[in-house]
C-alpha cells in the first residue's frame, strides 16, 4: 500500500519531483533577459542591421553596388526618416486605423467563426448543409473579394472590414472544426457515463477540448488579418469615407515620399503584427493554464 503511494520511476515523474525543491524567486522579466534565447535574438537582430547597413553603404564607400540590397536605403537613413515621422500625428493615426480594423475584423471572425466551427463539428445536419458552400468559398483569396465587397458594401470602411473578417474567418473555422473533431472520444464517454447532458458535453468537454485549436486558429488568423487589411488599405486609398492606415501610408510614401518612409511603414507593420500575436499567445496562456506544462 505504502509503496504504491510512492510510485517511483514513471514517465512523467520528473515533473512532479521538481515541485519539492523550493523554486527560486525570479521574475519572468529577469528570466527572459538572462536566457540564451533572448541574447541570441539580440545578436541576430544586430547582425542583420549591420549587414544591411554595410550592403546599402557599399556604393558610397567603395563605388561597387551590392545587387538589390544596394538600392535599399540604409538603416541609418530609415531611422532618420522614422524619427521625423514619429512626431507626425498622421503616422500614429495610421497605426490606430489599421489596428482598429484588424481587431474589428478579427473579433467578428472569432465571434462568428468559433460557434460556426463548433456547430459544424457537433451537428451532422448542420455540417451537411453548410460545409459544401463553405469549402467552395474558402479557397477564394480574401483579396479577390475586394472588388466585389466594394460593390456590396455602402462604404469603403465596411468593405475593408468585410475583407479583413474573411481573412481570419476561414482559418478560424477550419481550426475549430479540426480541433473539435480530434477530441478524444473517451472524454465524451466518461462525461456521458457520469450523466452529462448535451449542454454539459458542449460546455465542459467540447469547448475546453477545442480551446488549443481555437488559439492556433486565432494566431494564424491574426497574421492573415494584417496581410489583408494592409492590401485593402492600399487599394482603397485615403478618401473621405475610409482608407488611411499603414497600408495607405506605405502606398502614399511610395507615390510621393521616400523609400526610407516605405521601409518605416513596413517595419511598423512588422512590429504591429508581432505585438498582436504576442497578445494572442498571452491570452492563450492565461486561458489554458494546463498547456504551459507541456
Amino acid at each position: 500500500m505504502s509503496e504504491a503511494a510512492q510510485d517511483t520511476g514513471t514517465a512523467h515523474g520528473s515533473h512532479s519531483s521538481g515541485e519539492t525543491t523550493a523554486p527560486k524567486k525570479r521574475s519572468k522579466l529577469s528570466k527572459a533577459l538572462t536566457s540564451d534565447t533572448f541574447w541570441r535574438g539580440i545578436v541576430s537582430l544586430i547582425g542583420f542591421v549591420v549587414f544591411w547597413e554595410v550592403c546599402s553603404q557599399m556604393k558610397n564607400w567603395t563605388g561597387v553596388e551590392v545587387p538589390w540590397i544596394g538600392k535599399v536605403p540604409p538603416p541609418t537613413e530609415v531611422v532618420a526618416a522614422w524619427s521625423e515621422i514619429f512626431w507626425y500625428k498622421g503616422y500614429w493615426e495610421s497605426w490606430y486605423l489599421s489596428t482598429a480594423r484588424v481587431f474589428a475584423g478579427f473579433l467578428m471572425a472569432m465571434i462568428v467563426g468559433i460557434p460556426f466551427g463548433l456547430c459544424l463539428a457537433v451537428n451532422k445536419y448542420f455540417y451537411d448543409i453548410f460545409f459544401p458552400p463553405f469549402e467552395i468559398l474558402r479557397p477564394i483569396p480574401p483579396l479577390a473579394w475586394v472588388p466585389a465587397s466594394i460593390v456590396f458594401w455602402p462604404t469603403t470602411e465596411m468593405s475593408i472590414a468585410f475583407v479583413t473578417f474573411l481573412g481570419a474567418f476561414f482559418t478560424i473555422v477550419i481550426n475549430v472544426l479540426g480541433g473539435a473533431r480530434t477530441i478524444d472520444i473517451r472524454y465524451l464517454r466518461v462525461a456521458q457515463s457520469m450523466g452529462a447532458t448535451q449542454w454539459d458535453l458542449f460546455w465542459k468537454i467540447i469547448l475546453p477540448g477545442t480551446l488549443p485549436s481555437i488559439f492556433t486558429g486565432a494566431a494564424v488568423g491574426m497574421g492573415i488579418t494584417w496581410e489583408v487589411v494592409l492590401a485593402g488599405e492600399m487599394l482603397s486609398g485615403g478618401g473621405q469615407q475610409g482608407g488611411g492606415g499603414l497600408g495607405f501610408f506605405i502606398w502614399s510614401s511610395y507615390m510621393g515620399g521616400t523609400v526610407a518612409q516605405v521601409i518605416v511603414g513596413m517595419i511598423s507593420i512588422g512590429i504591429a503584427g508581432y505585438l498582436s500575436s504576442t497578445f494572442i499567445r498571452y491570452l492563450g496562456s492565461i486561458s489554458m493554464p494546463w498547456r504551459k506544462l507541456f
Partner: protein, 290 residues
C-alpha cells in the same frame, strides 16, 4: 501506511450488484463487409466478485466494454444489471479506460469531483469531503491541484480510480487500465488495486490481455475465444485473499497460468491468421460524427 483504513463514504455502499450478459451479439459493417465481433456471449458477473476477462488482442474486448458501459448497443441479446436492462451510459457503471482519460484541462481534484458536481445530486461540501478522502486514499493529496500532465503514469491511473469511485457505481468496468505502464508501476498498481477491491468488494469487471495480472486479481478468469468472441472457458481462482505477489509462484497459480496459457495460445493462433482490429478504430471514428 494507514492509507487502507476504511473511509466512511465508500465502504458503506458495498455493492451487491449482478451483471448479466445473455446471448449477446454484436457485429459491424453491412452485408458483404459485415463482421461479427461478439456472438452468443453469455456471462454472469457475480456480486462482490472480481471477474477478469482475458482474450487475445483484437478479439473484441473493447467492444464488450462498450456494450456493458452502454456506449454501444447489442444487435441481439440482453445485458442486465440487477435484472434491469442496460439502455445507455449511466453512473451505476464506471469505466476506467486504457491509458488515461483524465480531462487534461482540469486539475486532479476537478477531475475527481466532475461527475457528482455535474449531476448535483449531493451537496458540494459532501462531494468535496469525499474527494479529499479518496485522493488521500489513492495517495494524491499533494497532487490535488496539479494537472494530469504533471502526474506520473501510475498517479494518473490512481486519479482515474478516485474519479470513478466517487460516483459510487454498482459495477466498476476496467478496460486494460494498467496498459502502458512500465513493469514496476504496473505491479504496484495491481497491488494497490487488489487492496482497494478487497476492502469494499465492489462488483468488478476487469479486462486485460495479461494472464498473470488476471490470475493475481481475479476471483474468476474468463478466457475468451477468438473472433467472433464468446466465452471459451471460466477458471475459478481459489487463491486466498488478501492476495500478494508470492502467491503467483505457488503450484496452484502455476496450474491456472498453464491452463489459461494453453487456451489463449490456441485462440491467439487463430487470430494470428486473421486481419487486425481496424474495425474497432473505424467504429470509433464513425461514432463521433453522430
Amino acid at each position: 501506511m494507514n492509507t487502507n483504513t476504511a473511509i466512511s463514504g465508500t465502504s458503506g455502499d458495498r455493492s451487491q450488484a449482478t451483471l448479466e450478459l445473455k446471448n449477446v451479439n454484436r457485429g459491424f459493417g453491412d452485408d458483404w463487409s459485415r463482421e461479427e465481433i461478439i456472438t452468443d456471449f453469455s456471462l454472469t458477473v457475480h456480486p462482490n466478485e472480481l471477474t477478469v476477462i482475458v482474450g487475445p488482442s483484437g478479439c473484441g474486448k473493447s467492444t464488450l466494454v462498450n456494450l456493458v458501459a452502454g456506449f454501444d448497443k447489442p444487435d441481439s441479446g440482453e445485458i442486465l444489471l440487477d435484472d434491469k436492462p442496460i439502455t445507455g451510459p449511466g453512473h451505476d457503471r464506471m469505466v476506467v479506460f486504457q491509458e488515461t482519460a483524465l480531462m487534461p484541462w482540469q486539475t486532479t481534484r476537478a477531475n475527481v469531483v466532475f461527475g457528482p458536481k455535474l449531476r448535483g445530486d449531493r451537496s458540494n461540501a459532501d462531494i468535496e469531503a469525499e474527494a479529499d478522502q479518496l485522493l488521500d486514499k489513492v495517495g494524491l493529496s499533494d497532487f490535488k491541484d496539479k494537472y494530469p500532465i504533471q502526474l506520473s503514469g501510475g498517479m494518473q491511473r490512481r486519479a482515474e480510480l478516485a474519479r470513478a469511485m466517487i460516483n459510487h457505481p454498482l459495477v466498476m468496468i476496467m478496460d486494460e487500465p494498467f496498459r502502458g505502464l512500465d513493469a514496476m508501476s504496473r505491479e504496484l498498481m495491481q497491488e494497490f488495486f487488489v487492496r482497494l477491491f478487497e476492502e469494499n468488494r465492489r462488483t468488478n469487471l476487469f479486462v486485460t490481455s495479461e494472464i498473470e495480472e488476471a490470475i493475481f486479481l481475479a476471483d474468476r478468469v474468463v478466457v475468451l475465444s477468438n473472433r467472433p468472441t464468446s466465452v471459451r472457458q471460466i477458471i475459478d481462482i481459489k487463491l486466498p485473499r488478501p492476495r500478494d505477489f508470492h502467491m503467483l509462484s505457488s503450484t496452484e497459480a502455476y496450474e491456472y497460468k498453464r491452463e489459461a496459457m494453453e487456451l489463449l495460445h490456441e485462440e491467439a493462433l487463430k487470430s494470428f491468421k486473421r486481419k487486425g482490429d481496424q474495425s474497432e478504430l473505424v467504429e470509433a471514428f464513425d461514432k463521433r460524427s453522430e
